[in-house]
């Protein structure tokens, strides 16, 4: 019995059935991390002691036949821009090199309540996916902080969900682009993705943008229902080979798949860059070297303290974002850029959502040219999207359409597994 070869779902089951202890699981994964880390460089901080202590507590609960949570004993890696109480959270930046949050992000808190075990903090931006891919943790929390346009998961052979904006509380996620930042699960398979999302989703009074929709949906009970009768749209001109085989599978399983002319505009990219930069410029203002984080050593005034700390503490990309964001918000350019971008955003959202009046899901490629526009549109509209490793594609759903996405993705996952077996 090797937990390294199991899904999170199975690990929990075996711990409860006392096939092995939570402590054994953590030890095994830590060994794996020590072995692989020199190659991957995925972790910024490891939580060895805390993880072992928590594992012991969970083992004790199990020995006393107490109820345990849905992630009992499962090691979880957390991206380093998500706050963890008492554990260094650096955003992989010099600016926050010594920042120790005094609180847990709501998502982290909920995972802990589900008896998940935080094993370490991952580097930015693609490393949450990398550590899962390298088997250093079965599950990770990622946040595409509106910054990276890449789709790390699809390159790393893992499943990654960007949930509907507002479904998972942002409280404790160090903000970059507030209206687009989302925390989502990364896992080796669909069901692990589901249990992680189920554990951390839902209303949070500490995040006003999470309150709008207070569902606590159970995706797992319907995930095996299949996709018969589902209407799936594929944007015109998307002829990637992987997509084609995927379309065939969907059809075989009883879904209807149609080509549609998808409302895509290159301006989505501009709107995305303008809004995300504006929000980032404002959000990053608090890193002034006064209360926490990096402080320049040499200064003669408060202004100089702030200027130097920011000049020395931020990296080049962030500085560019701040400069752009400051410009588009300045009173002279506000209407020409920020305001226009917001109008465009509303328009894109309308068009996007109209597609979902006629279709349950949209299937789109991850890598080709149009990919960036899709990604920007997903950011701007806040709809959920799941990246899948096997088909280099992405399933996009309507707001709060995670249930449909999971059904389709799971069906595909099972089908491809079968297929692989047959081929073997």
């Amino acid at each position: 019995m090797n937990p390294l070869e199991m899904t999170a779902f199975e690990i929990r089951r075996e711990i409860i059935e006392k096939q092995f202890s939570a402590k054994e699981v953590i030890t095994t994964f830590l060994e794996r991390i020590y072995e692989k880390e020199p190659l991957i460089g995925g972790f910024l901080t490891l939580c060895r002691e805390e993880a072992l202590a928590r594992a012991e507590r969970i083992d004790k609960k199990i020995s006393r036949n107490e109820q345990v949570g849905s992630l009992a004993g499962v090691p979880i890696a957390i991206k380093d821009n998500i706050c963890t109480d008492g554990i260094r959270t650096t955003c992989a930046s010099k600016m926050l090199h010594d920042f120790i949050p005094p609180y847990d992000a709501t998502a982290v808190k909920k995972l802990k309540e589900a008896d998940g075990i935080i094993i370490g903090k991952t580097n930015m931006d693609e490393f949450a996916a990398a550590v899962v891919s390298a088997g250093m943790a079965p599950i990770a929390l990622d946040s595409d902080a509106g910054g990276s346009m890449r789709q790390p998961a699809s390159f790393c052979d893992v499943v990654s969900l960007k949930p509907t904006y507002g479904l998972v509380s942002r409280f404790g996620l160090i903000a970059l682009s507030s209206s687009m930042d989302r925390i989502g699960p990364v896992a080796g398979n669909i069901k692990d993705c589901v249990i992680t999302l189920e554990a951390m989703q839902g209303e949070d009074r500490l995040d006003s943008t999470s309150v709008r929709h207070s569902i606590k949906e159970d995706y797992m009970s319907t995930i095996e229902n299949g996709i018969k009768g589902m209407r799936i749209a594929v944007p015109d001109g998307e002829t990637a080979f992987s997509l084609k085989s995927c379309i065939e599978k969907f059809k075989e399983m009883g879904a209807s798949v149609e080509d549609i002319s998808f409302p895509m505009t290159e301006e989505a990219l501009s709107a995305y860059y303008i809004i995300s930069s504006a929000e980032a410029a404002s959000n990053l203002g608090r890193f002034d070297g006064i209360k926490y984080g990096y402080r320049a050593e040499d200064f003669r005034s408060v202004d100089e303290l702030i200027e130097r700390s920011r000049s020395e503490g931020f990296g080049e990309e962030i500085k560019k974002k701040i400069i752009l964001g400051t410009l588009v918000l300045s009173s002279k350019y506000y209407d020409a850029y920020y305001n226009k971008a917001q109008k465009l955003r509303r328009k894109i959202k309308e068009q996007f959502l109209r597609v979902f009046e006629d279709y349950d899901l949209v299937l789109s490629p991850v890598s080709p040219v149009l990919s960036d526009i899709y990604t920007a549109s997903i950011h701007l509209t806040g709809v959920p999207a799941l990246s899948m490793p096997w088909i280099e594609s992405r399933i996009i759903g309507p707001h709060y359409g995670e249930g449909k996405i999971f059904k389709a993705a799971y069906a595909l996952e099972q089908e491809l597994k079968e297929g692989n077996k047959n081929e073997l």
């Binding site: 998500i82 706050c83 959270t89 955003c91 926050l96 920042f99 949050p101 005094p102 609180y103 992000a105 942002r170 409280f171 404790g172 996620l173 160090i174 903000a175 507030s178 209206s179 009074r205 500490l206 995040d207 006003s208 943008t209 309150v211 709008r212 504006a278 929000e279 410029a281 404002s282 203002g285 608090r286 890193f287 002034d288 006064i290 209360k291 926490y292 408060v302 202004d303 702030i306 400051t326 918000l329 300045s330 009173s331 002279k332 506000y334 920020y338």
Partner: protein, 481 residues
């Protein structure tokens, strides 16, 4: 040439909520530095604001009291600038859509009634406070105030004199107090006022360059600063040096009694306002407005009218009593305990205000419960103790919180109206003052006044003055002993 002064005010009032605008930290004044803070109001990375619903209710209430139009949907915006007292490097305020627009306050200054229009009322959070330790060369930051809910009330440039500005602020303050929107303590900074002032030729419609005045911490300072600035600008116009009047912020220096430039318009930050993506729209529906309207307290104008009609008090007295909400409530409680309205008013305007001023207390801090003062007044009215003794009892009640009857008993202050007892005291006074007796016999009638004084002294002020006077008179007329 005759000039007209044009003044507009911007008033910040701290909302009377228990917790801050975006977190659950307490708002109470006087805590140790940084005691009332949490990760949210300190702007610790990852934290988010969640709007205090009570604050929204209070802004709407302020809007209804001040005759504003309530925006059914408004938003919070970010005002971005760097300053060490601003934890997030932006203040959450309302720039594009405030909760309230328009509105007015009716005022009376120098016998003239005027309607002063408001431009808007919006809601925002306060910043922290910097404390500079010059000697140590360091600055400390106290974030207790960071995130305290404020409203900013902005008037149109409708005020025409420093007197009107003061009258407006007094009227506004009392309305906010009556509405329980803010406790309006200027000395604690829970009510702050900035003023914009410009001059123009009488009859001219366009506005000239205005100057913004800051650091006006009391009615007196507001008036003085405006008068100073009015004079300064008038002089520059008269000397044809009006180009020296520039759009700038000037700080009132109370000690030097002058305004000095703080920053010019060119130095002003570009605040890069934009809607805060962390907070959704503030929706105010008719049900909430109806609910608030239904529970609006009596406003000062109405209370004044009622006091005039019900208690027959003079306008001057009403203005003082109704001017402080707590005082007017104390007064009504006193009257309902049975005090005759005019007698009650006399006590409030006299003894109570005197002692409050002496001790530096607020009207809500009167240490004597109204029913206790009512009892004292009754005792005096019944002639059980003299008015002088009554004053002494009152001071003692104020100081110790004991009730009147106990103090009278302890101090033996009850009035002596027993004839035999009085005669005994008078006999002894007369036998001790033979000289006065011979003076009286010699026709010096004022000797009687001296003797009366001695009787009061000997009785420790307890002698019933009327009866004592009667006995003394008899004795003197009877040919003395």
């Amino acid at each position: 040439m005759s000039f007209e002064t044009v003044i507009g005010l911007e008033i910040h009032a701290e909302l009377d909520t228990k917790s801050k605008l975006f977190c659950s930290c307490p708002t109470e004044f006087g805590a140790n530095p940084n005691e009332n803070t949490c990760p949210i109001c300190l702007g610790i990375p990852g934290t988010l604001p969640a709007l205090n619903a009570k604050a929204v209710t209070l802004v709407v209430k302020a809007g209804l009291i001040l005759n504003c139009e309530i925006n059914k949907e408004s938003h919070m915006d970010r005002k971005n600038y760097f300053y060490p007292d601003l934890p997030k490097a932006y203040q959450i305020t309302q720039y594009y859509t405030p909760v309230c627009k328009g509105g007015y306050v009716d005022i009376e200054a120098a016998g003239v009634s005027r309607r002063i229009r408001l431009n808007r009322i919006h809601m925002e959070e306060d910043a922290g406070k910097l404390i500079h330790l010059e000697a140590d060369g360091v600055s400390l930051i106290d974030y207790n105030r960071a995130g305290i809910p404020l409203i900013e009330i902005v008037t149109e440039p409708d005020l025409r004199s420093p007197e009107e500005a003061v009258a407006f602020l007094i009227a506004l303050k009392s309305m906010l107090e009556y509405g329980e929107i803010s406790d309006c303590r200027m000395e604690q900074g829970s009510l702050r006022c900035d003023a914009n002032i410009s001059l123009r030729k009488k009859g001219q419609n366009a506005l000239n360059t205005r100057v913004e005045l800051k650091n006006l911490n009391s009615f007196k300072e507001l008036k003085k600063a405006l008068e100073y600035e009015e004079k300064r600008q008038k002089k520059l116009y008269t000397l044809k040096e009006e180009d020296k009047i520039v759009q700038e912020t000037r700080r009132w220096e109370a000690v030097k009694e002058e305004t000095i430039p703080m920053r010019s318009k060119e130095d002003a930050d570009d605040y890069r306002y934009f809607p805060d993506p962390d907070l959704g729209p503030i929706i105010i529906n008719d049900t909430l407005i109806r609910e608030i309207k239904k529970n609006l307290p009596e406003m000062p104008v109405i209370r004044k009218k009622r006091f005039r009609e019900l208690y027959g008090l003079k306008n001057k007295d009403i203005d003082i009593i109704v001017g402080y909400k707590a005082l007017s409530e104390y007064y009504e409680a006193l009257v309902s305990c049975g005090a005759e309205p005019k007698v009650g008013a006399k006590w409030i305007l006299g003894s109570i205000l005197k002692l409050l001023n002496e001790k530096g207390l607020k009207a809500e801090q009167i240490p004597i419960p109204p029913e206790e003062l009512g009892k004292l007044i009754e005792i005096i009215e019944e002639g059980k103790i003299s008015i002088t003794a009554g004053q002494e009892v009152f001071s003692e009640m104020f100081r110790t919180g004991k009730d009147a009857e106990n103090i009278i008993k302890e101090k033996g202050l009850s009035q002596i109206s027993n004839r035999l007892e009085l005669e005994r005291i008078i006999n002894s006074v007369l036998s001790n003052n033979p000289q006065s007796l011979s003076d009286y016999a010699a026709g010096k009638k004022q000797a009687a006044v001296f003797l009366m004084g001695q009787i009061m002294k000997a009785s420790k002020g307890r002698a019933n003055p009327q009866l004592a006077n009667e006995i003394l008179d008899e004795r003197l007329k009877k040919g003395l002993l």
